[in-house]
Symmetry: C2
DNA sequence: TTGTACGCGTTATCAC
DNA sequence: GTGATAACGCGTACAA
C-alpha cells in the first residue's frame, strides 16, 4: 500500500539496488540513470523508510542530545544551534533530559538511547558522572559541551580567562572588596563553576588582593539563588563594593536584591555577570559574552565528522574565545 | 555480534514470539514466563532494536515537534514540557524548526518527517500555512498549540479574555489614553496576535473608549521591536498614559525605551505585558501568566492518546485559563 | 555500471 | 499460552 523502493525501480526500469544507490547519491551510478531515478522518486513523492534503511544499514540515523535542561536560556540556544546543523544532514535530533533530581524515575538516558543514535552531544554534564561514564562505554562518537575528557571531543569556552578578565575589570575600576556569587560550593562537579572561580582568584592574587571567604556566596545558577546570595553578601560586616556573579541569571537575582536594599547598581555598588544572556543588555549588566551559537555548531559539526569516520587528530578540545562587555552596572569608579 | 531477540529466546528457553510478547507486556503470556524472560533480558542487558521493531510493526515510534523557534523562552518551555511527557513513553521526540525566512533552503518539515513519526505537535503555526496544511494531508494525529483548526485537537489559552482583563485593569487604574504594542499589523496569521487585540478592543469599547490608531504600534514579538514601537508611541502628539504590550518580550523592549526617555515606569506611565515571562517578575512588570507547562503536557498527552487510537470526542480545542498578575509597572493611578 | 539475492531484527499471523 | 514463520523495506556483497 505504501510506496516502496520496488515501485520506483519498476517505474524507472531499473533494479532496486540502482534506485538505492541513486537516491543516496553514490558515485557508481550512471549520472543519467541516477537523474532519471531521482525524478521518478520525486514525481511519485517517494521517501525511503528510515526504519528499513536503518535496519539494513545498521546505522541509527540520529544523534542524541543529552542535557540537564531544555528550557533554560543557555541550553535552548545551544540546542537550537545543533538543530540548525542537523537540519542539513539526514540525522534526527533526539532530545533527552537527564539528572533532574525531581524526576528520579526516568529511564536513564543511555538505556533510552541504546541502538537509536549514532552519537551523542552532551551538554554541561560532568564527565565523571555515572550517566556520562556509561555513555562513554557504548563506544559511540561523543562531543562534549561545557566539559572535557581525555580522548573525547569537546567544545568549551575559556572560563578561566573570562572570569579573570571580568575580575580584572572590577579591580581596574578601583575595587578591592570584591565579592563573588558562585554556583555551588567547591569542589563543584560543574567545570565552569570551578574554572570561573579560578579566574576570579587569579585576578585577585595578581593584584595582591587576599581572597576573603566572607565575600563568597552561592546562588546555584538560579535567579532566586542569586538574590539570596547577594542578600548574604550585603549582610556581612564589610560588604563588597563590587560583586561578580558567575552567571547572568544569578546576577539578575542579585540585581533584585540590590534594589530591595535600595542600592543603585553602578553607583552604590558594582555588579557583573557572566554568559552574555540577552537580558543583560536590557538590564545594563556587564558580562562575559560567550559565542553560544558557535559552540553548538562546532560541537555538532565535530560529532557529524566523527560519525562520518573522521579521527580526532590531537586537539580534541576546542576552546572558543569570550568577550568582555562593559555596561553601566560596573561603571562606578572607586577611589580606595 | 549485537544481541538479538533470538539470543534471549534461546537463553530463556522460549520462542522469539514469546520474548517479543513478554517484553511488550502483552496480556497473552503466562506471568511466570513473562517474568523469566524479562529477567533474562535484563541480565543480558538486551534492548530491542527500534529500527527492526518499527519496520515490523509499521509504527514510527516517534512524534515530531514542529516549531518556528526553539531558543525562545516560550517555545523552549513548551518543548521541555513535551519532553517530560514523552520521557515516560517509548516515543522519541523529533525536533524540527520551520519557517525561518533566513533559511529558506531547509528541507520542508513534512518531507523531513514523513515515515518517521506517528504524530505531530505543532507550535504556534498558522493552520492556514502551507506547512501545516501539507501536514494535515498526511492523515496522522496532530495536536496544535497556539492555533486551532476544525477537526484537529488543539490547546490554547484564552487570549481574548487575558487581553481584556489586562486592559480592564489599566482602565480601572484610571487610564483613558491606552496604547497597544501588537505583534504584526492585522490581519496577522498568528492567532494570539489577533485575539489579544480583540480583547484589548473589547475592554475599551465596554468602557466607551474609542480606539485610536495613533495609539497602535507593532513590535514583531521581539525585544528590539518593542523598544522601537514604544519610541513611536511616545513620539505621537498625545502619548498614551498606559501601554499594553501583547508579549512580555516586547514589553521588555518598551521598558528600555521608557528608560531612555527618562520616564519612570509605574509612575510616569503604566506598562503591561502578556505571557508570564520569568523576567517579568524581576522587572516588576504586570502581565498575564499562561500555564505553559500545562499547555505542553496537555497537548502532548492529547497526541499520545490519539496515537493510541483515542477519538477526540467533540471538544477538540482545550482552552486553558490565564491569570492576571499585577505588579508595580501598572500600579500608578490616573485621575483623568 | 547494473542486477540478483540475501540478511538486517522484530512483529504479527496462524496454527497448535 | 506458545511456537513456527512469513512479512516489513531497504542496503549490500557478489556476480554479471
Amino acid at each position: 500500500m505504501t510506496l516502496t523502493i520496488r515501485d520506483i525501480a519498476r517505474e524507472a526500469g531499473v533494479s532496486t539496488a540502482t534506485v538505492s544507490r541513486a537516491l543516496r547519491n553514490l558515485p557508481n551510478v550512471d549520472p543519467a540513470t541516477a537523474e532519471r531515478v531521482r525524478r521518478v522518486a520525486e514525481r511519485m513523492d517517494y521517501v525511503v523508510s528510515p526504519a528499513a534503511s536503518r535496519l539494513a544499514s545498521g546505522r541509527a540515523g540520529a544523534i542524541g542530545v543529552i542535557t540537564p535542561f531544555v528550557a533554560r536560556w543557555y541550553f535552548s540556544r545551544v540546542i537550537s544551534a545543533i538543530e540548525g546543523v542537523l537540519a542539513d544532514s539526514d540525522l534526527d535530533l533526539l532530545l533527552v533530559r537527564v539528572g533532574d533530581p525531581a524526576e528520579p524515575h526516568r529511564i536513564p538516558p543511555v538505556r533510552r538511547l541504546r541502538k537509536r543514535v549514532d552519537g551523542f552531544l552532551v551538554l554541561a554534564l560532568d564527565d565523571q558522572s555515572h550517566e556520562v561514564r556509561d555513555l562513554f562505554e557504548l563506544g559511540l562518537p561523543v562531543s562534549l559541551i561545557g566539559s572535557e575528557h581525555a580522548g573525547v571531543a569537546s567544545v568549551n569556552i575559556d572560563d578561566v580567562a573570562g572570569a579573570e578578565m571580568m575580575t580584572q575589570h572590577l579591580i581596574n575600576q578601583g575595587h578591592r572588596r570584591i565579592g563573588i556569587i558562585g554556583g555551588r560550593p567547591l569542589p563543584s562537579p560543574f567545570a565552569p563553576d570551578r574554572d570561573r572561580y579560578v579566574g576570579f582568584e587569579r585576578a585577585l592574587s595578581k593584584a595582591g588582593i587576599a581572597m576573603d571567604p566572607a565575600r563568597e556566596a552561592f546562588g546555584w545558577f538560579t535567579v532566586d539563588g542569586g538574590e539570596q546570595a547577594m542578600n548574604q553578601l550585603l549582610a556581612r560586616p564589610e560588604p563588597p563594593t563590587a560583586v561578580f556573579a558567575i552567571s547572568d541569571e544569578m546576577a539578575f537575582g542579585a540585581l533584585r536584591s540590590l534594589r530591595a536594599h535600595g542600592l543603585r547598581v553602578g553607583e552604590d555598588i558594582a555588579l557583573a555577570g557572566f554568559d552574555g544572556h540577552e537580558m543583560s543588555e536590557l538590564l545594563d549588566l556587564s558580562t562575559i559574552v560567550q559565542p553560544i551559537d558557535e559552540i553548538g555548531c562546532t560541537a555538532a559539526q565535530g560529532l557529524l565528522d566523527q560519525i562520518d569516520g573522521a579521527q580526532l587528530a590531537g586537539q580534541e578540545n576546542q576552546v572558543l574565545p569570550v568577550k568582555l562587555v562593559v555596561r553601566a552596572s560596573t561603571m562606578v569608579r572607586r577611589t580606595p
